[in-house]
Amino acid sequence: MIFLIFKRILLGLITLFIVSLITFAGVEVLPGDACTTYLEREAYGAALEACYQRLGLNVPAYERYLSWAYGVIQGDFGYSLSGEMKINDVLGPRVKNSMVLASASILIGIPIALLLGIITALWRDKFPDIVISTITIFSMTIPEFISATLLILIVAIWLEWLPGIVIVPTGASISELLPNIILPVIAISMIMTAHMARMVRSSVIQVMSSDYVQMAILKGVPYWKMVFKHVLPNALLPAINVVALTIAWLLGGVVVTEVVFNYPGLGRLVIESISNRDLPVVQALAIILASIYVGINLLADLMTLMLNPRLKSLQIKK
């Protein structure tokens, strides 16, 4: 068991190392560099030289990678393009904002998804299933930039109930953020809930048709007792991995939603720094987002491992 955990962590670190290499190499092979993009037509002579000096671009690539990686290991991502802002200071509030949005969506979305998934599975092919499944498939297939824009059009422009886009100070407190994130949370929850409900539905259906459930039915176990005691614990276990992926997606991947609603989170920062060609920040974001995915997946694997008696015993037998 401990060996397995250790192996997983090692694999995660190797993944991160490869991601860091790819990001760095990707930035290297692009034509031009941080200085020529920053200075535009001014990129010649003394100004260019000074910029290279400031960003340390005048040393060989492998040296730069090593010193960059050394900094990252210590949690220091260096300075943004102009060399005036510490990337850590930039990231702090953005990470917090993304966490607020993610937590709100998770708190609302996951219970709804579980409920819908279980209902549709238990009443499979009956009226509730047909209605809910149609709606979930519908909201799954509409891309978020369309559903988000439609939400703004209907709720903010026609009905004038809520502000359309999020306008908050960078370091806004949670109480300042909450009233502003209703529309983004709805837009995210629509897709997230639909995906998860579908997963839960098929997982519950699978367990319901398994031999031991059939056996329990034959033995006369009361229906609801069987659902709660035998079906759900087994059906929801695979959902942990789905939830983990969803959390990772929420923290870094809701780029489109954040941009459409002008939400100052990590996703918008990705777009901003790419369009500003702020490569040091792009590099830092790539590593952070990769770490989030690797870390949360690792956590989910370990949780499944611990909760699933079969996997545990398998390891012990070995």
Binding site: T149, V260, N276
Partner: protein, 495 residues
């Protein structure tokens, strides 16, 4: 009687009240910026990361440009030159105070303008001040600027939107405070969130009409349009023309199209065959249908230019027609020794989103004159370093500058950014004559002669100057219908 007196005094009080309310600043005007400089955004007008939407409201220049492109006084009240226009004396406005309470006087001017030339700051505005060799404080309200060349239109250079007056010695803090003498004062600077400006009740042109201005960071263009639609901002100067229809005939919004001096163009290097022959260059330029480019690329929202870089609103702009003339273009090519036409490769990138479109339209137009144009896409990231001024034919774009600046910067034989490698002694001489000529009409003639020379010889094809779509909420009143740097912000009101 007592009752009458009561009524009378009540009326009087309410009258006084309503008067003072009418005169006081009220309401909030909200606009957005695109956070185009990300983490570098600051309030120091002369740096690259300046948040100009704030600076133009909090700080003044010495000289401004009125709506006809003519200079008029701002913090300088009058100015005069010596006989050969190499020394300029500016009288400063008296009784002006910065937002921190300090008085505005000559040392502030010297400090503010000399900072522009500071190599450590590396200001993009330094070209405007490059001819100034010395700024002398004559007395508290008079400064004398010495130039290394004759320059009759020197005051026009001082209208550069970046040359703002700040308190002496404030260079280290100005990027955060934005202190100036302008109609609005910075209350809270939050480049990634909402920057709040408060009305300056002591503003020398009168208290502003609005109490607060909010400058809100909205990096995404679509989100800015949404914010305008939902009433979260009151003005958007970045709406693409394709979205004009949303706002047309909508009583909640005012739509206006403002001409600017910003232009796009195609540069043929005049030192590279076959474009080293002026006839070939003119043939290519004659084969272009500019009006069609305006209609197809810009949806009509641009002013046709006959290869002059001088803005449509500039007092020195040469006004002429230049319709497409395919037969003349073919004749010129024949005279130049290319009876079967020429072929060329136009280098474009998405650095400017309209470049590829312009090139595609021109490809069709040029074909009629036996000019075969291929279009080559190059990486936008390294465009200015690897493509522009390197390839024989490449696209370019410039923002509005005074006539003298743009003619010098892009065409003078000694200019660093002479992108077409154009060398003409008669053109250079016209520019020098204009600079030394204190008589306006003679000066105008010299600048226009320079533009005529360009039409005959230039390697830079400039089809049009773009217009800007400005959409405001209908609650906004008295917003000048001009480019953003000439707006008189204190006059603005909101319902």
């Amino acid at each position: 009687m007592k009752y009458m007196l009561k009524v009378f005094s009540a009326t009087l009080v309410s009258l006084i009240l309503s008067f003072s309310i009418a005169n006081a600043s009220s309401g909030v005007f909200k606009l957005s910026h695109d956070l185009g400089f990300g983490k570098d955004t600051n309030l120091d007008a002369i740096t690259k990361g300046r948040l100009f939407q704030v600076v133009i409201m909090t700080q003044n220049r010495l000289v401004r440009k009125n709506l006809d492109g003519v200079t008029s006084p701002e913090l300088a009240t009058e100015w005069s030159a010596n006989a050969d226009a190499t020394e300029w004396t500016f009288k400063l406005r008296k009784g002006i105070y910065f937002h921190d309470g300090s008085a505005f006087d000559a040392p502030d001017v010297k400090y503010s303008l000399e900072r522009v030339k500071d190599p450590d700051i590396g200001s993009p505005a330094k070209k405007s001040m490059s001819s100034v060799t010395d700024i002398e404080i004559v007395d508290a309200h008079t400064v004398k600027m010495k130039l290394n060349t004759s320059f009759a239109d020197f005051p026009l250079l001082l209208t550069d939107y970046r040359l703002r007056m700040i308190p002496e010695g404030s260079g280290d803090t100005i990027g955060q405070t934005g202190i100036g003498t302008g109609p609005f004062m910075v209350d809270k600077f939050d480049p990634e969130g909402t920057t709040v400006l408060k009305a300056n009740p002591e503003y020398w042109e009168g208290a502003p009409g609005v109490a607060e201005v909010h400058v809100i960071a909205i990096p995404d263009g679509e989100a800015r349009v949404q914010a305008l639609l939902t009433g979260q901002i009151d003005m958007n100067r970045y709406v693409p023309f394709s979205q004009k229809r949303i706002f047309d005939n909508n009583p909640k919004f005012n739509v206006s199209v403002v001409p600017t001096g910003n232009w796009r163009g195609m540069v043929m290097r005049t030192d590279t065959a076959p474009f080293d022959n002026p006839k070939v260059r003119k043939a290519v330029r004659l084969a272009v249908d500019r009006q069609e480019l305006v209609d197809l690329v810009m949806g009509g929202a641009a002013t046709v230019s006959c290869d002059t870089p001088v803005a449509p609103s500039d007092q020195y702009r040469l006004k002429m027609d230049c319709p497409q003339n395919v037969s003349k273009a073919k004749n010129l090519l024949r005279e130049a020794g290319y009876p079967n036409g020429i072929s060329m490769t136009i280098h474009v990138s998405t650095k400017e989103p309209t470049w590829p479109t312009i090139a595609e339209v021109m490809q069709q137009q040029l074909a009629k004159a036996n000019i075969k144009a291929d279009i080559k896409m190059t990486p936008s990231k390294s465009y200015w370093k690897e493509t522009w001024m390197k390839k024989a034919v490449a696209m370019t774009r410039w923002n509005e500058r005074p006539a003298d600046s743009i003619l010098h910067e892009a065409y003078h034989s000694g200019a660093k950014w002479n992108e077409s490698f154009y060398k003409s002694s008669s053109f250079d001489k016209n520019l020098a004559d204009a600079r030394g000529q204190l008589d306006f009409n003679k000066r105008k003639a010299a600048y226009q002669n320079a533009q005529k020379t360009l039409w005959e010889e230039t390697g830079t094809m400039i089809p049009y100057h773009v217009s800007k779509l400005v959409i405001t909420s209908s609650r906004v009143k008295d917003l000048d219908d001009v480019e953003v740097f000439s707006i008189q912000w204190h006059k603005l009101k909101v319902d």
